[in-house]
Symmetry: C2
Subunit: 232 residues, 2 copies
């Protein structure tokens, strides 16, 4: 009567429900690369590739639609959204507002060890940039900001900020693939310096500049399609 009955299937599946695992898998795929703006996402395709039933897949897709990570393409189709310039501009406004406030709050809670932790992530980020490792860049860049969120003691703001990442994740990936990681500057050094100096307003401002700088790289991606006039 040993209770090893279900352990074989649960071994690497973890103990979390299937719909949660599907959600986390898709979330990672959206944040860190594997999905492209405009790409179609089918329920049956995911049931096949992930090896689970359709109900968990459906639930995960509904969550992601609510997150803004996927969009409900009119009829019954679901796809990864293509951001317009207006969308990007609105996202810049909200991210600057929320993330600068999160940074202000985090700055008041963080001690030397937490700041060192953030700096270690930034060093790993620099390594990924120099190596041209796009996936590593996306992961460490997200980890840098997420670590700040975790120190802010503001669950509502953190949730909102994390959800915003899902909206521009695929577009950010496109930018990296287009321009390469070398030409992706950030203000992380300014953020760390301001954290060490203990001036929350400076931290908030540095984060706002970092956000604006990063988001503006995405601008014009959709307009450069040149719909009609091919003048050259």
């Amino acid at each position: 009567m040993i209770k090893n009955k279900a352990q074989e299937t649960d071994r690497e599946e973890g103990k979390r429900p299937a719909h949660e695992q599907v959600y986390q898998t898709l979330r990672s795929q959206i944040l860190f690369g594997e999905l492209v703006p405009g790409q179609a996402v089918t329920i049956q395709g995911l049931t096949d590739s992930l090896g689970v039933g359709m109900t968990p897949v459906r639930e995960a897709i509904r969550r992601l639609i609510s997150d803004g990570a996927l969009m409900f393409q009119g009829n019954r189709r679901v796809s990864v959204p293509v951001l317009s310039d207006g969308d990007i501009e609105q996202l810049i406004y909200v991210r600057k507002s929320i993330e600068s406030e999160l940074a202000r709050r985090a700055a008041q809670h963080m001690g030397a060890s937490e700041i060192n932790q953030v700096e270690a992530i930034d060093r790993a980020l620099d390594t990924a940039i120099q190596a041209g490792d796009v996936s590593g860049y996306l992961r460490y860049n997200h980890a840098f900001h997420a670590t700040l969120y975790a120190q802010a003691d503001a669950p509502v703001l953190s949730d909102l900020a994390e959800r915003l990442w899902l909206r521009f994740g695929p577009s950010l990936r496109m930018v990296c693939g287009r321009f390469g990681t070398q030409s992706l500057p950030d203000r992380h050094k300014d953020i760390i310096r301001a954290l060490r100096e203990g001036t929350p307003d400076d931290v908030a401002q540095a984060v706002a500049q970092d956000v604006e700088q990063g988001m503006e790289l995405m601008g014009g991606v959709s307009t450069k399609r040149i719909p009609q006039s091919s003048v050259d």
Copy 2:
């Protein structure tokens, strides 16, 4: 013989999918009253009361959890969130930021007829307040702000603002039931005046004040619960 079998059920159900209808139904219940903070929500209860299968109910619940309208009570329980003072403070910050920007943009697009439309909603709101009609107050108050969102031509910001309503809807209802509609002041007259004067910054500021005033009514509601220490 005739394949009109499924048309009878579709008669008054409309043409939208069931999970969408369940979502809209629950959304209205959360926004306009019928659900109380802390209340448990069960899947089977909804399948019985709404007369649909469990798959559409599950999908709607996942969406609402992602919206912040419901929370995943650790184990498999789902309930309406009880907002802490910290949650309310963070919601005030985000709402002021997003809604003032929406108002600024709306102010640049709105003509006389749109302003009159908003004013008509505000008159209906006043009537509901004087009649002590809590449900009417909640509906017209939401309609007042939603009408402004629709004029802002900012879908990302509008979506975010609409989702925030789902977080404090039940708590707002509690405030109305507690204090009555009479003691619910707003800055709607200031907003309309600023709209007529065509000064976007004044509109934004009036909306920010309206938001802050309305949200602060909810403060302290959860702390008076006195979770552990009954020192008195």
